[in-house]
Amino acid sequence: MTRYLVRRVSQSVAVLFIVSVVVFAILHFLPGSPARAILGIRATPAAIQAFNVANGYNRALPVQYLLYVNRLIHGNLGFSYHFDQSVGSLLVLDLPKSALLVGASYVISLLIAIPMGIVQALRREKLLDHTLTTFSFVGYAMPTFWLGILLVVWFSSDLHIFPSEGPQGASVTASLSDPGALVLPVATLTIVTVAQFSRFMRASAVENLLQDYIRTARAKGLADWQIVTRHLLRNSVLPIITLVGLSLPGVLSGAIIVEALFNYPGMGWLFWTATTAHDYPVLMGFTIVVAAATVIGNLLADIAYAVADPRVRYQPS
């Protein structure tokens, strides 16, 4: 276990190092500079030179990289010239709202996808399985924003049940106080996510149903529902933990779209606004945070998995 831990942690550190280098490189080679952005286009070369000296931008690249990492480690993600705020404070404001959207979609998706995948595995190659498979294929093939548009057309424009915009409050509590407005954004992200997770779950359950322990359970006379709840569920859910963790970047991509479509002021919306305004510090800061969250999340999922299933630890890399 210790060897496994050491290997996974050192891999994660290496990955984070590479992410920081990539982000630093992009930041450095982008057109424009912090000095220009802050001092404006009329700044004299002398003023820009003075700014660069004062902030260390005249140093050698490796030194600049170390300074950048040093700032990152101290929680300084940079400063947004477009929003006139530190990236960190923007993050504190908007991250919880995205977490609400993504978290709710993740939980609902799993609650739907796990039973759906198991039912499909039990009724494999039957009508129900084919119907749900068709749903998954179409759900996966739909551009997220088009699905969102259709939901708006049906439930907002035609039926007037839900509003076409996400909650507009500035904080999470404000968002939660307007649950009706959350329905369509969460539903959009959930449908896309269920389409993927149910496939993972079905594949995992089908593979487990062929195992000897299921035959043993059948042989000793357990009822079907007991086999499912006692044996199949646990064994087939465990392997998809990793896949669900690895899907986080994909779901976050979906969240950018959903937030842009429903005008929901979360991280994704901010990111999109920053893209159109060429606000690089925000783009970079968020990229780092999202990548770090993904890497650390996967690491934790792997460790939890290794604790739950000893076979994982002895796998050669």
Partner: protein
């Protein structure tokens, strides 16, 4: 246990085979005919193939049979309802929607296919080199893949598109350069198995250079996996392209693509102009499902061949 891969979830049709035994993985030129025959028996695969052929004809031959002006707006005929003159109506600046669907299909399919081609070449070489080299080279190369996988694809695309002016060629390169990661992982995994096989060892003993072994033996033997992944990458590239166009970062008009058409239709959600909202979306769904079906069918026929040994 098989190593779990964050591959396309639509590829998880049937139970995955375990770690292939040594010597089991050879799908060379001889087996190709068998794969095609198996594919021919797969109804879903044939359906997918037929849909792609139909889409290609619609997009590339269609405009020859049904020529429309997709360059100059016609402000005297905007948002017309479908009629005999305009089978799918006209959009906000008077473009014939049916004709525009065809032209938009061209760039959408081009982006999907070309981006997947770039991703496949880069990913195959990267994975083959990493797996064959092993040791620290492998570690460094795969950590780079991990790092790029940790960043949401859309985020990377948005970052890159802020650097370049959007055009079909640029979008192809940007999407190609972020889509090779999964292919690289899959290829590396197979090469790790292949390089222990006797014939690769023999080639090594006979004095073949490393690059010759990678190019002649390893790449050729992972072609099945690569082709399957490539079809999924076409589907993914089309979806990413649509997302990009929705976010306003696709090629600007008069260039047309399906995602961009949907984005234009967004303004008329509350007006009941259904012909601006449904047709382009349906085209995307059909194309993406079709590529997924083809990939699934090829994968199944590959596995049938493995099982029958």
């Amino acid at each position: 246990m098989t190593e779990l891969q964050p591959t396309n979830p639509m590829a998880l049709g049937e139970p995955a085979l375990g770690e292939p035994a040594i010597g089991e993985l050879v799908v060379g030129g001889r087996g190709l005919r068998g794969i095609i025959r198996d594919f021919g028996h797969n109804r879903m695969g044939i359906t997918g193939l037929a849909a792609i052929v139909a889409m290609l004809l619609f997009s590339f031959v269609g405009p020859l049979l049904y020529p429309t002006n997709q360059t100059h707006p016609n402000l005297l005929a905007i948002t017309r309802h479908p009629s005999a003159q305009y089978p799918l109506g006209t959009d906000a600046v008077g473009y014939n929607v049916l004709g525009r669907l065809m032209v938009a299909g061209q760039s959408t399919l081009e982006v999907g296919l070309a981006a997947a081609a770039i991703a496949t070449i880069v990913g195959t070489l990267w994975g083959a080199v990493a797996g064959y080299a092993g040791g620290w080279v492998d570690s460094v190369m795969m950590r780079i893949v991990d790092a790029l996988l940790a960043i949401p694809a859309l985020l990377l695309v948005l970052l890159l598109t802020t650097l370049v002016t959007p055009s079909v060629v640029m979008v192809i390169f940007v999407l190609g350069l972020i889509s090779w990661l999964i292919t690289a992982r899959l290829v590396r995994g197979q090469v790790l198995v292949l390089k222990r096989l006797e014939y690769v060892q023999a080639a090594h003993q006979l004095g073949s250079r490393s690059w010759q072994i990678v190019a002649r033996h390893l790449v050729r033997n992972v072609i099945g996996t690569v082709v399957v992944q490539a079809t999924f990458e076409v589907a993914n590239a089309i979806l990413l392209f649509a997302a990009l166009s929705f976010l306003g970062l696709g090629p600007p008009p008069p260039a047309a693509n399906w995602g961009g058409m949907l984005n234009d239709g967004l303004n008329y959600v509350f007006d009941g102009y259904w012909w601006l909202i449904y047709p382009a979306g349906v085209c995307i769904v059909i194309t993406v499902v079709a590529f997924n079906l083809i990939g699934d069918a090829i994968r199944n026929s590959l596995e049938v061949r493995l099982k029958s040994r």
